[in-house]
């Protein structure tokens, strides 16, 4: 990591003596100033809330300094403040569980915009029942955002989040309670959303459930997808030092990796996707959305989905799939195994979205979630091999 320029440090110190601390992790003045503001707001609020505190004036400042010092050692802001906004939700963050990313927020909101906006009351316009499975749920952010986006559209909504980390499952449950208490999620979320511990590599990855008959309509996953090589080279220092490796790099034991192995370098992050596709088949998923590391991995995953005759169409989403800026290519596509795959939005390759014929019918016509989102029609460019 290059040294910070002395002039930058001086400028920062002149603005606020705490900024040089933050610069060590933020690297640029703009984000250091933003973080300082968020830390200060948090320190003031936390001190005011603390009833044991009589000498408030001194303490919020000392609290602020302590937080900035932690941050200067690379600890992520989200762990220090203990939360991260996700959509309209407030997701609690704790050491040992991956922090929700804005790209994940973006793709999760985009898939919600694909689902029909019909009212739960009008039976004719489509099924008013939906079952969503969220694997590698972590903080539970995707599962909870799904409920937030869909509870007004579906009378019956069942969402299950699974993670192999016990701490993640406990945190996800706290997040459910926390957001219901804050009024960010409706009361019914407590019944509709569940979190359980489970290993997706075990034989019964998804616990049998009587109410869903073991069947799920949508499967979403933000699995560990970074290869061991990339983990050492491309991840940020604060990610490497503070976030759980298990949530970033998939297990690589030969028995689990199967034929793929880890010798393929960057492809070492791929081994979880065949397993996810197998689970999708087992639970009868009509639509899947997997987060991926980059465009190369996205194309490899599209290739895997193509081998699996189940899927009738596939799209690659970039970081911001709903952004379609003028001047950019009107329609972007890549060719995988001789089939054209549409690429949506801007940024890095971030997700693979695949559907079956039934899935396409379920979605119907893609509608815009928020009024400035450009309505998009699903492209029936199927990938068969």
């Amino acid at each position: 990591m290059p040294r910070l320029a002395t002039s930058l440090l001086l400028k920062a110190r002149n603005l606020n003596t705490l900024l040089p601390l933050l610069l060590r992790s933020c690297r640029d003045l703009g984000s250091a100033q933003n973080e300082l503001r968020w830390f200060r707001d948090h320190a003031v609020a936390a001190t005011a809330k603390d009833p044991t505190n009589s000498h408030t004036q001194a303490t919020w400042q000392s609290r602020l300094r302590r937080m900035c010092e932690e941050r200067s050692r690379g600890k992520p802001l989200q762990y220090i403040l203990g939360s991260q906004p996700f959509g309209t939700l407030d997701i609690l963050c704790r050491l040992g569980v991956l922090i929700p990313r804005p790209e994940t927020e973006s793709i999760a909101m985009h898939i919600m915009s694909y689902l029909p906006t019909h009212n739960g009351d009008t039976e004719a316009s489509g099924p008013s029942k939906l079952r969503v499975l969220d694997l590698c749920t972590g903080t539970g952010c995707i599962a909870l955002l799904t409920h937030d986006a869909l509870s007004s559209r579906y009378k019956s909504l069942q969402i299950l989040g699974i993670d192999n980390n016990r701490h993640a499952v406990l945190l996800a449950r706290s997040n459910l309670q926390h957001n219901v208490r804050q009024g960010k999620l409706p009361e019914r979320a407590c019944n509709d959303v569940n979190f359980v511990q489970g290993d997706i590599f075990s034989r019964h990855a998804v616990p049998p459930s009587r109410s869903t008959n073991g069947q799920w309509d949508i499967l979403i996953a933000n699995p560990p997808y970074i290869s061991p090589t990339a983990f050492n080279t491309t991840t940020e220092r604060s990610v490497r030092n503070f976030e759980p490796r298990d949530a970033l790099v998939p297990p690589s034991s030969p028995s689990r990796a199967g034929a793929q192995g880890t010798r393929e370098g960057n492809a070492g992050g791929d081994i979880i996707y065949p397993r996810l596709l197998k689970i999708a088949r087992e639970v009868g998923a009509k639509v899947v959305l997997f987060e991926v590391a980059d465009m190369d991995q996205a194309m490899r995953v599209v290739g895997m989905a193509g081998m699996d005759k189940r899927w009738d169409g596939v799209e690659i989403w970039r970081d911001w799939p709903s952004v379609q800026n003028k001047g950019a290519k009107a329609e972007e596509s890549v060719v995988v195994n001789g089939k054209i795959t549409r690429v949506m939005g801007e940024g890095n390759g971030r997700a693979v979205f695949a559907w079956t014929l039934q899935g396409r019918n379920m979605i119907g016509r893609a509608l815009d979630l928020e009024d400035w989102y450009i309505p998009q029609k699903l492209c029936p460019c199927t990938v068969h091999s």
Binding site: N14, L15, C26, G30, S31, N34, E35, W38, P76, L77, Q78, Q84, P85, F86, G87, T88, L98, I99, R101, P102, E103, T104, E105, S106, M109, N222, P224, Y225, I226, A230, T234, T235, E236, S238, V239, E243, A247, L248, E291, A293, D294, D319, W320, V323, N325, K326, G327, E346, G347, N348, R350, D371, W372, Y373, I374
Partner: protein, 325 residues
Amino acid sequence: MVKEPSTDPELRSLASEDLPQATRDLEALSTNLKKSLIPVHPFAHLPCLLELRPGAGGDEAALFASDLLRMYQVYCKSHGLQCKVLSIDTAPSVGAEDQIQEAVIEILSPGSYERFRGEAGVHRVQRVPATETKGRTHTSAVSVLVLPNFPNEVAQDNPNEFNDPNSDYYVNPQDVRTDTMRASGAGGQHVNKTDSAIRLTHIPTGTVVSMQESRSQHSNRTSAWQVLRARLAQARREAREEEMAAMRINAGVKRTGRGDKIRTYNWQQQRVTDHRSAITLNRLDDVLEGGNSLDEIMTSVKEWLASKDLEAMIIDEETASKQKL
């Protein structure tokens, strides 16, 4: 009848008793008539956005901007108006916590646009700045923009407002370029940076709105769209009004646009003068504390605005009837 010598004395006394009442009624009626004649501003019922930007005067203007910001915040609080800071950019210089480069506050209560629209314009300050060593009085200025605010609920009540291309509210999403500040690097699980900034560019007009106040990109995006909508709607309305104003200038009436100085805050004399309604109060502190004096000034400006509107209407009417002839 009262002055007529032939009137019966009894009748005369009765008539003169009625006279003051009748005069009062007449006044009230004519005010009411004025009010009902003047068309209600199309944005009057809306909440509003208040933007403060220092003009000439450097640091001193930036300091004054934060004084004004505080004035409006206290005013809102004491009048039970809900207000919320959307963004504050402080000056990138030494000890700049209270020097504002740009601030946007949202006043959520309906009808706030009508209440605050008279505040739009250049506010001038005359005082000896804290930074001045020779005791000279400086004159600086802050411009205040008042924009109608279209909360998302408006769209739900009346979806046509946002989707009808002829409406002032309409913004074609195709015309807006969205930039997130998180473009470089691998992204995703590889980084946990907190860059939540959003920048929207309305390509046809070159209007740019950046928002980085919140940790949530989602809420920054919502706020940015709100500000963009407001600025575009205001610009459209202003363009229309300018056309009208040009017509009226030909007919001999000058309107005060937002470019002119509207009010002066003078520290030495502890006075505030509004140049439009020509009101002067010697209670500077109370005005800056958002007290009754500020109310008094705002009311006088409202009356002035109404009289201007009436003048404009008469001119329009005359022009129209001339054209008929």
